[in-house]
């Protein structure tokens, strides 16, 4: 175990602040929710920046809650990967919060229900990214899923209720599969600490079964093909800021856990069959998702299917990182960078779409004519974020795919390189389908409602960040690689894999 045991309050504050904000916003309703938002966001950013500074000085941070320390107590931990995910959450979360201020301005009834759920969701995300305990991760995942479902059903119509129920059932089944795996591992090793488990885990068949159950549960929550069935209805029928949260952030939490567990705790169980298999599921998701996205009639469903595609790319990390020790750092950085830039870009796209739908009152893509004239900022944001989703330069998506492409070629797996390149073309097809419509002149009878300016601006800022991630990639990538045991131990699987 490397790193220092920290007593600075930044790690717990990142979890406590949003939870507290959730309790307060429920207690006080609409009163003072702007000041609460300002105070909490400032607190979160301040803690996060202090944590990053500490990390740069001292490296990996451990935080034994209650002073007990693992294995009796629960440890929190911050490394480069955690910080990248926390930064992603804070960035996307802040802009979605600002957007929500505008979005719920005329709908206080929903607004007062939105904020407590969203604060608890934010707290759950930070808790996932900081936890170093298998059972605690289960509780954080449940916190995350229930708040996410609560946000989906906020729309209140029958589609969103059905989608929310479908999502709830999928999430619950996934959690139980995960918990069964944890129960087996706890029975085998008598500890729940990730780091102790990492030292003890042996790839015996029983343990591998436990790891597989955990993996299936998390795949279900990440919506990897063929366990993606719940995602499009949930993300497509929720309110726009909620869709942005779900597609951008929530599915990344379970993906993060998969990376964390496989490359840190179970690397000895990584086999070529598993990595190539999960990569193939990812490849199928890339093409099937793009095909279905292209054929959607509703804008938000198109974007939701695009998320299925992007989740497919994320899972290419597994075959690329496990193949050889030379390709591992590039593949893992690329995978994480893709998760981060997709979060930013997809949130921007959903927010822009939300503004367009509020303006036109239409969810159908073929009714988007005239948006280019009436909502230029949103359309511009949509197009800019689309660049990142397609993986074109200069964007975070491009850097991420470039890293993955390098990993594919350096490990001699040209077929994954082909998936990356062709998948980008497929993404371009459905994005241009939307853009083409928007640039057509408006229909005569179409009505356009004004929206608060903060909505298109929030979308535009996120889209700008998606591009900036491509121009200033050096710092986040260095952060990801400093003191991250995940990447240091990534060479282990290559010696084990047949």
């Amino acid at each position: 175990m490397t790193g220092i045991s920290s007593a600075a309050p930044w790690i717990p504050l990142l979890i406590l602040l949003p939870l507290m904000a959730g309790a307060l916003s429920f207690l006080f309703g609409p009163r003072g929710h702007r000041s609460l938002l300002a105070a909490t966001m400032t607190g979160i950013w301040f803690s996060l920046i202090r944590l990053i500074l500490d990390f740069e000085n001292a490296g990996l941070q451990h935080y034994p809650i209650g002073g007990w320390g693992a294995p009796l107590g629960i440890d929190l931990r911050a490394d480069g990967l955690s910080l990248a995910m926390l930064g992603m959450t804070a960035t996307v979360g802040s802009f979605i919060s600002l957007y929500a201020l505008g979005y719920f301005a005329g709908d206080e009834n929903r607004g007062i229900r939105f904020w407590p759920l969203w604060w608890l969701l934010w707290g759950a995300l930070n808790a996932v990214f900081l936890s170093a305990d298998l059972f605690n991760l289960y509780v954080t995942l449940e916190l995350l899923s229930l708040s996410a479902v609560g946000l989906v059903v906020l729309a209140g119509d029958r589609d969103s209720l059905a989608a929310g129920l479908r999502y709830l059932l999928a999430a619950l089944a996934g959690s139980l599969a995960y918990l069964m795996g944890v129960a087996l591992l706890y029975g085998a090793y008598g500890t729940l600490s990730l780091e102790r488990m990492a030292g003890l885990f042996r790839p015996e068949p029983a343990n591998t079964l436990a790891a597989s159950l955990i993996t299936v549960g998390l795949m279900l929550k990440t919506a990897l093909f063929p366990l993606h069935f719940w995602l499009p209805p949930a993300h497509g029928s929720a309110l726009a800021p909620v869709s942005a949260l779900l597609s951008g952030l929530v599915i990344k939490a379970s993906f993060y856990m998969l990376l964390r567990l496989w490359f840190e705790v179970f690397p000895s169980a990584l086999t070529e069959v598993f990595t190539q298999g999960i990569g193939s599921l990812g490849a199928i998701a890339v093409f099937a998702g793009a095909w279905l996205a292209f054929h959607q009639e509703k804008l938000k469903m198109l974007i939701a299917w695009s998320t299925v595609t992007q989740v497919g790319y994320l899972f290419l990390t597994f075959p690329l990182a496990a193949a050889s020790s030379t390709s591992a750092p590039a593949a893992l950085s690329g995978g994480v960078y893709l998760a981060v830039s997709h979060a930013v870009a997809k949130a921007a796209v959903f927010l822009a779409a939300g503004a367009m739908l509020k303006v036109t009152d239409e969810d159908r893509i073929d009714r988007l004519e005239g948006v280019g004239r009436h909502l230029p900022i949103s359309l511009f944001a949509f197009a800019m974020a689309g660049v990142s989703l397609m993986g074109l330069p200069p964007s975070g998506g491009f850097i991420a795919k470039w890293l993955l492409l390098n990993a594919a070629l350096s490990s001699g797996q040209w077929w994954w390189a082909a998936v990356l390149v062709l998948g980008g073309l497929a993404s371009a097809a459905y994005i241009f389908r939307v853009l083409r419509r928007c640039f057509l002149p408006p229909r005569e009878y179409a009505a356009f409602h004004p929206v608060p300016l903060v909505m298109p601006l929030a979308a535009l800022s996120l889209a700008g960040i998606a591009l900036a991630l491509g121009l200033a990639a050096a710092y986040p990538l260095r952060l990801l690689q400093t003191g991250a045991p995940l990447l240091l131990e990534a060479s282990a699987p290559s010696t084990v894999a047949p």
Partner: protein, 245 residues
Amino acid sequence: MSAVYGPIRQIAAALAWILGIGLSAAIVALSRPDFGLAELVEAHLEESGVRHPVTAVLLNYRGYDTLLEIAVLLLAVLGILAFRPPGPASIPDAAPDSSPVLAALSRLIVPLIVLAAGYLLWAGAHRPGGAFQAGAVLAGGGVLLRLTGTIPSFESPNAWLRVSLVVGLGVFLAVAALPLFEGSRLLEYRTAEAAMVILVVESALTVSIAAILATAFIGAAPPRIRCMSPSRPAHSAEGERAGQS
């Protein structure tokens, strides 16, 4: 089971068999730990502030799990409130059940329930019991009172209900954060104060758990007590419901 669609049933059965057999084999083959937490739990019991090891784990060693868990419980209520139709401010309150037997019974039982909950809460420090059991028992009392009409139905939770719903999470968060101001760690109680702190947290948790569970029961929809009191005309509540949706 003839009603269930053939192929799905067979696939599900096959998967369930594989799962069951695989997991059974795994349980038998699983290695045994050379290390258990039981000794550690006992070794630090003195410092934990309680004598009952399960309570020590729940509220001290792994108190952070419990902190998040009470947030999960609160989410059940937040989720239920999230999709309630806005509707008019006055849902016609389902008439209190006039069944004299139920009313008399509840007058008799409710004090006993409160007593039992108090005992469970107090007992948690040194023997089985604690906030969750106490809260659940109390919630049972709340449901009973709702059935007899003593507790009114609500459209959106009023201030008192909101306070009792979040007091558990709020107090726990405050107690967890307090050591941060003294340079200690999250949830790091001083040994001398641990017993007191745990009792405060447990009391707040009991209130919230009871409120949350009872709200989940009452708040899901206007109550339907038809099945339990056949004397009441069955259709009045139905009519309200249908008119509303």
